[in-house]
Symmetry: C2
Subunit: 266 residues, 2 copies
Amino acid sequence: MASSQHHQPSSPGQKDVPPYELLYWPGIPGRGEHIRLAFEETSTPYTDSAHVEDGMGLVTSQISANNLGDALNPPPLAPPILQHGPLLISQTPNILLYLGPRLGLVPSVEEDASGVYRVNELALTALDGLSNEVHDCHHPVSTGLYYEDQKAEAQRKSQDYIKNRLPKFLAYFERVLSGEASRGGTWLYGGVLTYADLVLFQCLDGLGFAFPNALSRLAKGGDYAKVFALYENVQQRPNIKKYLASGRRQQYGMGIYRHYPELDEP
Amino acid sequence: MASSQHHQPSSPGQKDVPPYELLYWPGIPGRGEHIRLAFEETSTPYTDSAHVEDGMGLVTSQISANNLGDALNPPPLAPPILQHGPLLISQTPNILLYLGPRLGLVPSVEEDASGVYRVNELALTALDGLSNEVHDCHHPVSTGLYYEDQKAEAQRKSQDYIKNRLPKFLAYFERVLSGEASRGGTWLYGGVLTYADLVLFQCLDGLGFAFPNALSRLAKGGDYAKVFALYENVQQRPNIKKYLASGRRQQYGMGIYRHYPELDEP
């Protein structure tokens, strides 16, 4: 699969395009990773607060209680934040929605005017069930408390997640890949890679770090063969492969995906 | 505020427009309510599975494990679902994104090409903190278990929500309304009602049912005066007022917003 196998970007000329600037917490892949993968897959230049001096300060000044935004942009509540010329927007699925047509990661309006709503739907669903809920597994009571202060609740939550929620979402995406709208079952929608595939890849990658035993059992079981093939297919794309091996890819740690052996299955 | 005070819909001609069909669980406002309010505010005709025979069956057949979608549409994981001619999409913020330009509830591309990304950002943030997290308050461990089986965890979670999370989100939206991009502080973005305002209204309304004591204290405290004024301003809009008094508005019950007195503050 050549990395050029994308939809047509909505503004192919690169002249006079302002730089894309990603603001996200340095030190973890986190929600920022979904944005990075879109840039990396499409060889789109971007700056990343994870790799600049005082990147942390850039983020905290944006989400400060004193920031009222500007004439064009409301203040962001939390990162990831994208700056693109005068535009400043936040919320992972919203940034992807903005980048999708610009980077050729959704069908163009000419070929499929409603395609973007299907891609957005799939990305939102992956983020709900395979990212946000995974964060809740280690922090089911309060994001303001330490894990150690909600460990009993985290164990109950994680057991339920592994037993019920994770298979539910994997089965859903297997169903999407088995449906006609996927056009062949390699990619989630329309037979061509979209940002929904990148989001699903990153969610599965993070789950493999958080719950390695559970995910490996589910992968081996064969019920979600298309889902795990998609994971491999994204991982093997030349630009993604290069990126994952580079210093730009940060290690998992104390972010959304955390590995506490006691929360995984034995 | 006249109900005609909207943005220009992207396709003002009503001829040959297929009907809008909302599929959502009958019996509770739930996530479907955000979609209903968009239709009601703009006097847009729609059908609603809440009010047809076997509405429940219409929803369950869509989310059945046997449904693979069709040639155009992936299967939905969960309602709300919108059918509009050949299009079938799910995910609350995604449906609103689709309806926004069609109903004049976002700035038109001509007046503000990036406005839709700001409105989407605000709607996503309200749904995250003032809807999804509120559901987690009564079901912090598992959506598959009864409340009674996770009551201790629900109490810890709700206490944290009322003390930390709810004020955080109210303060955020007060900040948005105090910023220049709101153009005056009546509506969240651009000086005109958008669907983000309707979402925030519905979230506050549900919170007032779930946590009446906490919300009334926060309203009286005066720190979020603009937020609660927005609530009143939406509630007083002629079409919304008529709708809220009609039989189409369903009562809160065992949905996202539930009232368990022991989870509220005294």
